[in-house]
Amino acid sequence: MITFEGVTKRYADGTIAVNDLHLEVPTAEITVLVGPSGCGKTTSLRMINRMIDATEGKILLDGVDVRTIDPPTLRRGIGYVIQQAGLFPHRKIVDNVATVPYLLGWDKSKARARAMELLERVGLDTALAERYPFQLSGGQQQRVGVARALAADPPVLLMDEPFSAVDPIVRTSLQDELLRLQSDLHKTIVFVTHDIDEAVKLGDRVAVLRVGGTLAQVADPATLLSAPADDFVREFLGRDRGIRRLSFVPADLPLRTDLTVPDDADISKVAGVAAASGLTWLAVVDSGGRPSGWVNAADLPLSGTVADLRLMPYGTFVAGRDSLRSALDAALLAPSGGAIAVDDEGRVTGVATAGALAAATSGIAAEGVGTGRG
């Protein structure tokens, strides 16, 4: 656990970068510091490993004031990832990753073995180990930067806008990779970004800072989206708060299993299923149990089979794993307004009707009432 106790950073010219910050960063969680430029997020991060020293207040690392630890010693126990990766250009990738183990006096072969293991862990081909940084793409360099920070297995990881200099596709894959790593490693991570979407995606907790270095709100992402503390936070969160918030709500929808027909069924059977369920839109399922499309029972020919019909487009979500946002997205792809639920193998397990989705989303909205405006 990292604790900020009334931390202030004031520069000689009177500029206040961080103002009386009180914040707890829980162990084994990702805490994101987010805010516009000039909000002191990077300064706050850099005070943890003493790249900058606080003017007032204390930062405690598991109860120990960081100011009592010699900076190089402190830093060797804290992983540090920066925006441009900051790899040493004159060293091979493997030696870059092994930087801190070398500093800690590990045996060279042990340090290199550890470095190879980490390269794999962050999703890099170990053939890259003998290359130099300039031979790698920006995304690959950033992965090496993460591997280097993890090399000596520090309990704490500081990440200063690590993914902001790469293109959006690479950024998404790096974010997913970080979440995957974290689910194995359970590090205490402080992550700085100016991108609220990144903050909401990665953070177990998100601390929003405002210009002048004061803390505006700390909350888990779902709470932040549903109940921003003030106009600044609301504005910073931006548009589509409602729909984004659904990402944090599991799709616990009532599934109907009486709304499916096989893709070789006779028209008369389709009409029968529709009549029995009381609904006209039915999901067509192939012989392997996978969805083929939607069919509207109100618009059937007099004879033939399902195979003769034009099927309507559909969307699916994985029941029990995906969010309500995914389910809603699946429903918006289909003229039926319903979403087809599938299992991990893609086999249909049921149908969430338009009515069920409407009930679920209005329920979520009702929960938000009273805790936040707009």
Partner: protein
């Protein structure tokens, strides 16, 4: 051309204490000593100033002052002060000539290293000296070597002035030749100095290739 054949074809010019091999060795001796002394003075100073940022004004002032310094004038002055007979009067002006390019390039090389890289090095837990020696110097090495190369070429070319005060070196051919109107000797000496400067240039290219990391020079085949 005839003068060159006359000079290089004369067997007397290839033996004894006024022969080309001996003069060349003398010339190399002054030059190497002066360069070594300049490196010993300028590199640590440049590293320290570049790393700490303290005394940057000193670098600029000393470099400009030294550029304005007349080598020959300094030589004559020192001879007047300490007398002839030792190599010291030659070494001092040569060192004064060699220090500025090494100092300026070392300082600029270290100072110019990417801020993020410095930041990362400290952030990993390297101490100040380790940041300098393990990160900044290897990255700045091409510039530091460039400074030494410029200095070496200037020193080799300028060491001819040793002959003015009765010392040896390739300058003897030039100055003695001028004094006795032996133009074959003058031109032969000048050609030798030029060749030596080229050899120095080549030697530094080789050192550069061996000493600078392929990751910095980017001289690696792209696989």
């Amino acid at each position: 051309m005839n003068w060159l054949i006359e000079f290089f074809g004369d067997p007397d010019n290839w033996s004894g204490s006024s022969g080309i091999p001996f003069r060349l060795l003398e010339h190399l001796e002054f030059s190497a000593l002066a360069l070594l002394a300049a490196v010993v003075i300028a590199v640590p100073l440049g590293l320290w100033i570049g790393h700490t940022g303290r005394g940057a004004l000193f670098v600029v002032l000393s470099a400009n002052a030294a550029r304005a310094l007349p080598t020959l004038g300094l030589l004559v002055l020192i001879v007047l002060l300490v007398g002839v007979g030792t190599t010291l009067p030659v070494l001092i002006p040569l060192v004064a000539l060699a220090v500025p390019p090494i100092l300026v390039n070392t300082y600029e090389g270290i100072r110019g290293v990417d801020r993020d890289l410095r930041d990362a090095a400290y952030g990993m837990g390297l101490r100040g000296g380790q940041v300098l020696l393990r990160v900044l110097v290897p990255v700045a090495l091409p510039l530091i070597l460039l400074g030494m190369r410029i200095a070496a070429i200037q020193v080799v070319a300028t060491a001819t002035v040793a002959a003015y005060v009765g010392l040896g070196g390739l300058g003897r051919y030039i100055i003695d030749g001028l004094a006795t109107k032996d133009f074959a000797s003058t031109i032969g000496g000048a050609v030798l100095v030029a060749l030596l400067a080229l050899a120095v240039q080549t030697a530094f290219t080789l050192v550069n290739r061996v000493a600078v990391s392929p990751g910095v020079s980017r001289r690696v085949k792209v696989r």
